[in-house]
Amino acid sequence: MITRRLIVASAPLVVLAPSFALAAPAPAFTARDIDGKTRSLAEFKGKTVVLEWVNEGCPYVKKHYSGNMQGLQQAATADGVVWLSVASSAPGKQGYFADGAQARTWMSAKGAKPTTLLLDPDGVVATAYKAKTTPHMYVIDPAGQLVYQGAIDDKPSNKVEDIAGAKNYVAAALSDLKAGRKVAVPASQPYGCAVKYKDA
């Protein structure tokens, strides 16, 4: 029993999952979507996948849901890209969706057009990807390689007027992929509110 306690005590010394190098396989995951269906990364093999971390109450998310995010979602999905919004806020925290219906209500109010939204209240998917902020964007190529991770654009602010002059990294990565080029900017520092992980 004492030894058990010692192990537990030393557990916090373990570093969280190491940061993965890019051009590495995207971590696999399964999560329930707003329809209650279990979705996994594996089922989208052969398609480009965008992961977008979302928290409806976060000012940075609100900034991009002034039209920017919906526009990106529409253009991407029209191009055959799978766009998965991920809500990883823990129960009781800002941005938590109790069920699919609640998420759907928010989505339709905003006119959001992702392929679907994944409910990740335990933060399992967020932990696998080391998602830090909302928004935090990831682009996975058809071979399952992570080719972009980071901010949505190069203007870290919560002001809608900054969108106009910003370079959108996700749009750039998607067009690089489409044109068969190497993604020019494979990583950037994400900005926004902290992902509302459940308390340790």
Partner: protein, 727 residues
């Protein structure tokens, strides 16, 4: 608020007549009160005045540093100034580390002043009062984040002469500026080693500095993994921090970075540094490691007083407590059994003479303390000389092991009744014998420490690791606590006549007990001889065994001589044999030490038990195996460490463990410290240890290991390996 406005209204007209001091208004933004405050009461043409944005932040909320860390956003200020006036960059005070779940932010709480240098043009007219306006935008977060804005203004009179400090804020702004990180001519280099960036900083102002809680705040948000702990290594001229590479240093970086700049924060001070690529300077390492700085103020994931954690959060007092506890527990470790028997024998002998028992207890205590301090002093001196040695180093020398083996043999023979030390003195001078009894107790204490102390017990490991990174005086204090803990049970027993009275009266049983207790000592001698054979090879072993026979013969001859002398007969012939035997033993021992040591053969995998094969350890091997997706367990061990051997037999050798390792795709590596090895010493230091055993379990892929307790069970190891395999 109203009152202040009223005052302002009343005072405003006065400004027409005299240059009123700087005045500003506080703006409430929801979670903050914001205002502009000035270091000086007035602006002087052609000079620079520091004006600070003061944020008074609601409890539990934060605003952010220039690099907010994993999430958040730095405060931004847009100035509107009179023509010719210009504003510089914010002078950022050292931030706090705020932990939010797995995320690490760099932020401010409570009250923070962000000073900005404002250049006053030479053309500014004295007598004028100018208005400085700042539009500040900041993100303030607790559980949720709220962007807030404030437009704040400051009226500042222009005066010709030297400006006086602002009566209200002058001091405060001055202090903030004085405490802000500044360059101090420090030399900083970085070196990439896999995923690790080793950042070394040296310079005059770091000589002898306290590096506890040292932390590097990078200016770039992509330079390092903010959430990863920063391992601290001390050197004579500075320190080296092991950072975890971020995108800037990863394969995704479009170009290799040439600089790594940021703030090095120590206790109570901070420096601005810019590191360039380069080798780790010698002065930045070599004095051992310190636990990485704590996770931060709101961390929910901090270790809660884990006795076995290599980091000792509480500093010296906690180290002293742990050292004492470690000393106590050391009495229960397998290493100490032979010596326990010695102590038991001496206690039993004097159990019914309270005064003498007390004196003996104190003499034992003195022996333990003196030996601990002497060993510690030697250890510290040798380490200061730059040698990578650790606790237990005395048994890494074959000479010491050989002498100890023979000493153990003599003690055992003595217990067996082959000879009595001081029997003659006792017979001749009766009462004086108390003296020799005390010397015996002192020596017992010394022997106990020399043989038993190399084992590290729970609690003791962290305390020792801490001690060896501290100034010598502190380190000696820790060793003193350890010695007191180790000696405590027997001293207390010696002072508890009630307990001792429970022992039967002295009599024939004592001789039986003494003879029986000789066998653990024979065992200890046999063990040391085996350790010696591991260090010195087969030829040396043969010579040492021969020496042992001669020493035993000398002991018997001496005993015979004493008996004859006691009986009034001449002991000279017997003593002569004893001297010859002893001399022969000494010569053979010297020969044994000079015997050619067989070259260490090519290190091959060695079976640790049925099925489970331990490979030789190296840091590179760990990284390579991790990269292959294997869980790696490392066994830091030494042949002279009985605890290590017991663990290897009981917990690391079973078929169940072999199966578990196979199932989890795990590998066991063995780092053998029987002989001195700087790489192993460094690895131990890295985990805050100064001795063996140390058991690490690395997760697959990459990442830092879990430290297992010093006493293993098979189930515990399997559990740890399974956990690591899950990631």
């Amino acid at each position: 608020m109203l009152l202040r406005r009223l005052f302002a209204a009343v005072l405003a007209p006065l400004a027409l007549f005299a240059a009123a001091p700087a005045s500003a208004e506080v703006v409430k933004t929801g979670h903050l009160e914001v205002e502009l405050v000035s270091q000086e009461a007035a602006a002087v043409p052609g000079s620079t005045v520091f004006v600070a944005l003061r944020q008074k932040i609601q409890a539990h909320w934060h605003t952010y540093w220039r690099n907010p860390g994993d999430a958040g956003d730095a405060t931004k200020i847009v100035w509107t100034l009179p023509a010719g006036w210009t504003a510089g960059d914010i002078v950022w005070p050292t931030p706090e580390r705020v932990r939010v779940g797995p995320l690490q932010d760099y932020a401010y709480s409570g009250e923070v002043l962000l000073p900005v240098p404002i250049t006053v043009p030479a053309s500014a007219k004295p007598g004028q009062t100018v208005t400085l306006q700042a539009a500040a935008a900041f993100l303030v977060c607790e559980e949720i984040c709220v962007p807030e804005d404030a437009v704040v203004t400051l009226s500042l009179p222009v005066v010709a002469g030297p400006a006086k400090p602002d009566p209200k804020w002058g001091d405060t702004v001055g202090k903030v500026l004085a405490a802000a990180p500044k360059p101090a001519g420090l030399k900083a280099t970085w070196k990439k080693d896999g995923e690790t960036i080793r950042l070394s900083v040296t310079g005059a102002s770091l000589r002898g500095a306290d590096f506890a809680d040292a932390y590097f705040f990078p200016y770039s948000g992509k330079a390092i993994d903010h959430a990863a702990p920063q391992a601290i290594e001390r050197g004579a001229e500075g320190l080296t921090l092991s950072l975890t590479a971020g995108f800037d240093f990863g394969p995704e970086a479009t170009e290799a970075p040439t600089e790594l700049s940021g703030v090095l924060a120590l206790k109570g001070r901070a420096y601005e540094i810019t590191a360039t690529p380069g080798e780790t300077p010698a002065g930045s390492v070599g004095l051992g490691s310190l636990p990485a700085a704590g996770a931060g103020s709101t961390g929910g994931s901090q270790a809660a007083g884990g006795g076995d954690a290599s980091g000792l959060a509480g500093g010296l007092p906690v180290a002293l407590l742990f050292a004492f506890l470690g000393g106590l527990i050391l009495n229960l470790m397998p290493c100490v059994f032979p010596v326990l028997s010695l102590k038991a024998a001496s206690l039993a002998a004097h159990a019914h003479d309270a005064g003498r028992t007390r004196a003996q207890g104190l003499a034992f205590l003195a022996g333990v303390v003196a030996t601990f301090i002497a060993l510690a002093g030697l250890l510290i001196a040798v380490r200061a000389g730059g040698e990578a040695v650790g606790w237990g180093f005395q048994l890494q020398s074959p000479a010491v092991v050989a002498v100890l083996a023979l000493l153990m043999l003599l003690v055992a023979l003595n217990l067996s009744g082959v000879f009595e030390v001081g029997a003659a003195v006792q017979g001749a001078a009766g009462g004086v014998s108390a003296g020799s009894g005390l010397a015996g107790a002192f020596l017992t204490g010394a022997l106990a420490v020399i043989v038993a102390a190399p084992c590290t017990a729970p609690f003791m490991a962290g305390a020792l690791g801490f001690a060896l990174t501290q100034p010598p005086a502190f380190a000696l204090l820790v060793f003193l606590a350890l010695a007191l803990g180790f000696a405590a049970p027997f001293v207390i027993l010696a002072f508890a006549p009630g307990l001792l009275k429970k022992l039967p009266r002295p009599g024939a049983w004592m001789d039986v007990l003494k003879h029986a207790l000789a066998f653990p000592m024979y065992g200890a001698a046999a063990w040391l001889v085996w350790v010696f054979s591991q260090q010195a090879g087969g030829v040396a072993l043969a010579l040492l065994l021969a020496a042992a026979v001669l020493v035993a013969f000398a002991a018997w001859a001496y005993g015979l001589g004493e008996t004859r002398r006691f009986a009034g007969k001449t002991p000279l012939v017997a003593f002569g044999f004893a001297v010859v035997g002893l001399a022969g033993g000494v010569l053979l021992t010297i020969g044994a030490l000079k015997a050619p040591v067989p070259a260490a053969g090519p290190q091959t995998a060695e079976a640790a038990g049925p099925g489970l094969v331990a490979e030789p350890w190296s840091p590179e091997r760990v990284a390579a195996l991790q990269a292959q997706g294997k869980v790696v367990m490392v066994d830091f061990t030494a042949d002279w460490c009985v605890t290590c051997k017991v663990n290897e037999k009981t917990a690391l050798a079973g078929p169940r463990l072999a199966d578990a390792f196979k199932a989890q795709n795990a590998v066991l590596l063995k780092a053998d410290w029987t002989r001195r090895d700087a790489t192993i010493a460094a690895a131990l230091a890295e985990h805050g240890r100064a001795g063996v055993p140390l058991y690490l379990v690395y997760p697959k892929g990459a990442g830092a290991p879990v430290i297992l307790p010093q006493l293993l069970t098979e189930g515990l190891v399997i559990e740890a390996v399974e956990k690591a395999a899950k990631g």
